[in-house]
Amino acid sequence: MTDFSDLMLDVAKVRSDFPILDREVHGKPLVYLDNAATCQTPRQVIEVFDDYYRRYNANIHRGLHTLSDEATSAFERSRDKVRAFINAREIREIIFTRGTTEAINLVANTWGRANLKAGDEVLVSQLEHHSNIVPWQLLAKEIGFTIKVIPVDERGVLDQAAYRDLFTERTRLVAVNHVSNAFGTVNPVSEMASVAHSHGALILVDGAQAAPHEQVDVVAMDADFYAFSGHKVYGPTGVGVLYGKAALLEAMPPWQGGGEMIKTVSFEAGSTFADIPHKFEAGTPAIAEVIALGSALDWVSGIGLPLIRAWEHRLTEHATKELSRIDGLRILGTAPGKAAVMSFVVEGAHSQDIGLLIDQLGVAIRTGHHCAQPLLAHFGVDATCRASFAAYNTPEEIDIFVESLERVIGMVR
């Protein structure tokens, strides 16, 4: 049995913040291990919605009335919380989006469209989620630049020597995730950024899977762009963040046009645009969601990412040990120090069967390609089972998961 006693995480107290963890599924207590897809929200986050719609629901940045003023203040406070969470220098470097996907699409359609030319090269890693592949493919088809793939080794670790060799004088951008959603690999983005910069290229880091697990410091890592989503860091869906260095954001053309993002609009003289970050926030944003994201980050900081990380690592260690006992089970992604993601396939048991049957026992895991088809294809599989952990998961839940897994494997073999 893995020892958890030295860690100061009061997991019972953590769990008491999550009302959903009390529910049952098919008459069994819920064991929620699909956190890499969406993690659950603490009551402090849920309560923001109730409070916002009961007390100060109003459009922001425009009204002179009290409600609008209160909503604007809360919204902008949230922006500062995000800034502090990723240690950005300036509040205007934080742009709210619908999520990581929209953040990456924004960079592709503004910076990408303005700076990439036919014959240029963009480096994308083999570990990427489709949301950091497809926006570049769409643009490449239009513009005619080339996408080159940074390879992985058999552990799911990016080959840094191969990475360095991919650079040419035409390399303009590296698009890489901080943590792989399918395998949990934590990439050395800081070193990768310095290699990119030494070749005059920029780096965009997809931080969707890193924000809930790793302490992010965009200045120390020297990322040019960094994106993450609210719902993977104990916040709501429908909100995400794009960080960009101020000088880059200022030089980028706007993407979506509409209210909020303009200075002046005239049929005769055309339109002039607002300063960053508002230039990239056309239309009424998801106000309550943004405020709730601020509360989620407060919640995470209240426990502390180093402690959450240590707890999840211990859970991952425990799960690795327990899963390894199962005959015919192969873990994909064995990078040292990986985040709390266990991807695996089982001989003689299809992941779809495992996902459906284990749900009957109250255990929620993910099965399928995890929006990382190129990575799975590279490892010769088209689907895996994935269990991913959060701060509220317990070693006892891992044991229930492994016992349940053994039972369902026995049913199909």
């Binding site: 069967d353 996902g355 009957q360």
Partner: protein
């Protein structure tokens, strides 16, 4: 095999009612799937593949006199079992009868709740293919 598709559905419903929990029902479905007749590899073509499923499913149909004969397989156990359920009801029946038999067993067995289309299990895609072929042949 029962005389009609409707009788087969009634029989299946009766068999499933013997179990009082879903794990046993799933086990029964999986065991039925293990009895499926062999499906040669050369039939596993893109043309015979059914989309909309997390697992791979192939279905082949051919006219056998007045009746329609299906062969199908999957690399997943529950889907194989569902194929076996569908075969019990629809296989080797006149196309007009197949087309005129609604899949009432889905609702009566509660399978529609357990295997909703959002779980991309391919059940609905398989049914669609069966009805499509039956209507074309009827």
């Amino acid at each position: 095999m029962s005389d009609t598709a409707q009788e087969s559905q009634a029989e299946l419903i009766e068999e499933f009612e013997m179990f009082d929990n879903w794990m046993d029902r799933y086990q029964y479905i999986i065991d039925m799937g293990k009895q499926l007749p062999a499906f040669p590899d050369e039939w596993k073509t893109d043309e015979l593949k059914i989309q909309g499923c997390q697992s791979n499913v192939w279905m082949r149909s051919q006219r056998d006199g007045e009746r329609l004969h299906f062969d199908a397989t999957s690399d997943a156990a529950i889907v194989s079992g569902l194929i076996a359920v569908l075969m019990r009801i629809f296989n080797d029946r006149p196309p007009a009868e197949i087309a005129a038999t609604p899949p009432s067993f889905l609702e009566e067995l509660g399978l529609d709740k357990h295997l909703s289309p959002t779980r991309s299990n391919g059940l609905h895609a398989m049914l669609e293919r069966i009805y499509q072929v039956a209507k074309a042949e009827a």
